[in-house]
Subunit: 149 residues, 2 copies
């Protein structure tokens, strides 16, 4: 498996151990991880710290030139918010672990010129299926859905 | 002027006093402000705390039912990231102080069913024009643009 996707999965697994939503992300520039993050809704009571947002925040203030060389990895298809963050910073490439359990606005993101790669990784799917089955209300909250599952 | 837009402007003014980027936001539900925020790139070294994001974070974890009644106010047209956050949470209405100095993906957001109101407020325009003239590099960083202005 892609070593960077594996690091994103490690973040997701750490999130699960913390009782959080198992989604992880890393930001890679010139072959090095410059930021890593995981969903912190539970851990920090956060409405905005999806994995990709946490990752971008932890990467710190970067220049447009740096973002232009970046690849964003996420274990799950980025939602509207996280896709929007990638568009804001013109990150040219996103590698997505899976988009079976949730799919963000991939067509729109592609129409804005972003290269999306869907890995279809079984471990990413397994983590999310297990989480959604166990914590449907928490999952619905995280994606803005009505209902307790 | 709309009293809630005025509160968003107060947040922007507070940001300016802190040496930050003068953009402010409030979230209103059932006629009450449930969250307020301002751009914190400078103050917190944050890549994700645009005014609307800071506001949503400060509002805390809300349910889909609460977001469905919410109005997001911002002194400036929301960028891709902040528009995406509003779409994630299906916030049905956004009131925008001005979109002359910067315009986010308004057409796309409208196509997703969000009601956007552009106030064209001269005070919002004045704050941003002054800031952009004084700090072009910081402004470019905030909107993912190359160059130091």
């Amino acid at each position: 498996m892609d070593a960077f996707l594996k690091e994103a999965i490690r973040e997701a697994e750490q999130g699960a151990r913390e009782g959080g939503i198992p989604i992880g992300s890393v930001l890679v520039i010139d072959g090095e991880i410059v930021g890593r993050g995981r969903n912190r809704r539970v851990q920090d009571g956060s409405a905005i710290r999806h994995a990709e947002m946490d990752c971008l925040e932890n990467a710190g203030r970067l220049t447009a030139d740096q973002y232009a060389k970046a690849i964003l990895y996420s274990t799950l298809s980025p939602c509207d918010m996280c896709s929007g963050a990638a568009l804001l910073y013109r990150i040219p490439k996103i590698v997505i672990g899976e988009n079976l359990t949730f799919q963000g606005p991939e067509s729109y993101v592609r129409s804005r010129g972003v290269d999306l790669t869907i890995v279809d990784d079984p471990e990413c799917v397994r983590m999310m299926r297990q989480f959604i089955a166990n914590r449907p209300a928490l999952w619905n909250e995280d994606i803005g859905e009505v209902g307790d599952g």
